[in-house]
């Protein structure tokens, strides 16, 4: 068994195999779409392609209703129209495998040996979830590659590249903006003194530590990339671009059932005076937890980013299974440092899947059988939130920070 695993995870075998399996899935998906009633390809892929078609006709991609992404994505997928419908899917699986490669490089930089690093990478490369998501035509792998690229450049101290990739990732989806706080905390000038008592001097010293060359460089490059892209697309597509890409996601109040227990509150209070305030109030638990996580763990950036995204997704007003990929791509980075046994790890995984299963039951009965299971769905959503919180607590308490021999060299 041990030798089989070693053979399977030999350096080029694993990446080639990962790509080949995904390619096969794309081919199978094409076959299923053509022959069966239930389609393999996700509806989102058709939305992207329709938007790309509008672009090739010289119009705005937002003519396609429910296209709520950056125009950059539709522009990247214009070869779907000129070359082949499969181009987008190939792009997504390439980004997917590249994410695996980035995970491998980050693990190596953090001090793991090649063998262990490849085994951990296999958790992403041979994982059916990202395989399925990318081959079905969802664009999550692009963002995973951008976020992992940012983290790799931060680990290797290539700040300008990190800032460029970070600005690009925030442009594509809003959630990486939460990484700004731990990145800022990580880049500020660290002092060896402990802040034992709050005094004005230590407070000024604290704020002053943010004013250093590296942080300034990072902020201006990332901010510059983001603003340039926003200005460009605003010039091309106007307010509709701003609304669909950003404002919609910030003010989104999805009253239809999803994993988040907030859905029921939003549904019941949709027409009340307080619905705006309730929506804003729902941000508070997320915000507080993110602040605490940033302060406690900013020294280990991949772990902090993982916690950030996991908290953000779990406590969000809308939660669908697509969002899970946002933090699952960071999980391989922290697994080597968890002191959980394999049994405990698998137990947590089963618990996580059980939570989803318990939700899917009543949701199926509501949507496809017409029973009124709203209360059950809401309870299942609460249970899932509790399970997620428990898993996160287990991860935090069993985490051993890395010794980072590389970082000592820079200091």
């Amino acid at each position: 068994m041990e030798r089989l695993i070693t053979r399977l995870t030999a350096k080029y075998v694993i990446f080639t195999a990962a790509f080949a399996i995904r390619l096969a899935l794309v081919a199978y998906g094409d076959y299923q779409d053509r022959t069966m009633v239930v389609k393999y390809t996700d509806i989102d892929y058709h939305v992207f392609t329709d938007a790309a078609r509008f672009i090739t006709e010289g119009e705005s991609p937002y003519n396609r209703s429910t296209y709520r992404y950056t125009p950059l994505l539709a522009w990247m997928l214009t070869p779907n129209i000129h070359l082949s419908m499969m181009f987008g899917k190939i792009l997504f699986i390439v980004c997917d495998v590249m994410s695996g490669l980035l995970i491998y490089r980050i693990l190596r930089l953090r001090g793991l040996n090649s063998e262990t690093a490849r085994r951990v990478c296999a958790l992403w490369l041979l994982n059916p979830l990202p395989m399925g998501v990318s081959s079905r035509g969802n664009a999550e792998s692009i963002l995973a590659a951008l976020v992992l690229g940012t983290l790799l450049c931060m680990e290797a101290r290539h700040l300008i590249w990190a800032a460029v990739l970070y600005g690009l990732s925030v442009h594509m989806k809003i959630y990486p903006i939460t990484y700004a706080l731990p990145i800022a905390l990580a880049l500020r000038t660290t002092r060896s003194e402990d802040i034992k008592r709050w005094r004005w001097r230590s407070f000024i010293g604290f704020t002053g530590s943010f004013l250093n060359r590296e942080l300034f460089l990072f902020a201006s490059v990332a901010g510059g990339v983001f603003c340039m892209l926003t200005a460009l697309f605003f010039y091309m597509y106007g307010w509709e671009f701003l609304h669909e890409t950003y404002l919609y996601h910030l003010t989104r109040r999805d009253i239809r059932h999803n994993f988040s227990p907030y859905f029921y509150m939003l549904y019941l209070t949709a027409d009340s005076r307080w619905s705006q305030w309730l929506g804003l109030a729902a941000f508070l638990p997320q915000l507080i937890l993110l602040l605490v996580a940033s302060w406690a763990f900013h020294s280990d950036l991949p772990f902090c980013c993982f916690l950030h995204t996991a908290v953000f997704v779990s406590f969000n007003k809308v939660c669908t299974s697509q969002y899970f990929l946002w933090y699952l791509c960071l999980l391989p980075l922290i697994i080597p440092h968890l002191s959980l046994s394999v049994k405990q790890g698998v137990g947590l995984l089963i618990l996580w899947f059980t939570g989803q299963g318990i939700w899917l039951g009543p949701a199926y009965f509501l949507e496809f059988e017409g029973y009124n299971t709203f209360l059950l769905i809401w309870l299942a959503g609460l249970l899932f939130l509790i399970i997620n919180s428990f898993i996160l607590i287990q991860i935090v308490t069993h985490y051993k920070p890395t010794r980072t021999p590389q970082r000592l060299k820079f200091e």
Partner: protein, 213 residues
């Protein structure tokens, strides 16, 4: 020529008198199918075109993109009278009208079946303990037309309406509308109106739930 015209008009009149249209809603939950059946009797008239006009209530919606991909695989075409927002709850929308043109590529058969996927909207939550609400879907209006009979005024009391000739909405033609809904005999299937069970939620039991969120 006039004789032939009269012949065609006479046949059209007989079609109007004995043809039947009915609708059945299949499946359960929020995603259903409206199966419309048209029986042309006593005999199909060559050159006659059929148009089904569905007036949908606000509680349901059709997915234009799903319809477009279905159109590729079937022989009917559909025209919507307004843009459809797929995500709004029922009380924030109004009903809409669709025009279905069956068998666009060939002659009209005696028995027509058109299946349209229908989706339920979320409704306003209830405050009186009701856990379900009904959405009523009526059978569509059956409109007939033939090139060979142009004096449509003779078909009183069946109304004459001007509606698009085809699904691309490029021109308008005069159609004759079947005046009343025929109820099929026998107890096999319901006709009109058909109740479609939507859902809303009981709120009285959840007043405290709302507060604790």
């Amino acid at each position: 020529m006039t004789g032939n015209d009269e012949n065609h008009c006479g046949l059209l009149k007989r079609l109007l008198e004995s043809s039947r249209v009915s609708v059945e809603i299949n499946k359960k939950g929020f995603h259903r199918e409206a199966v419309t059946t048209v029986e042309l009797s006593p005999d199909v008239l060559s050159g006659v075109r059929v148009l089904l006009v569905h007036r949908w209530p606000r509680g349901v919606y059709l997915d234009p993109y799903q319809l477009a991909s279905l159109s590729d695989e079937s022989d009917w075409r559909i025209l919507l009278d307004s843009a459809i927002d797929l995500e709004l709850p029922a009380h924030k929308t109004s009903g809409f009208v669709t025009y279905v043109y069956p068998t666009v590529d060939g002659p009209t058969p005696r028995l027509l079946k058109v299946t349209i996927p229908v989706h339920g909207r979320y409704h306003e939550p209830s405050y009186d303990g009701k856990t379900f609400t009904s959405v009523d879907i009526e059978a569509p209006e059956l409109l007939l037309r033939t090139e060979k009979c142009t004096q449509l005024s003779i078909f009183e009391p069946h109304a004459v309406v001007d509606t698009p000739c085809t699904a691309d909405n490029s021109s308008t033609c005069s159609w004759v509308k079947l005046q009343h809904q025929q109820v099929p005999l026998g107890a096999s299937s319901p006709s009109s109106p058909v109740t479609f069970l939507g859902t809303s939620s009981p709120s009285s039991a959840h007043e405290h739930t709302r507060a604790s969120c």
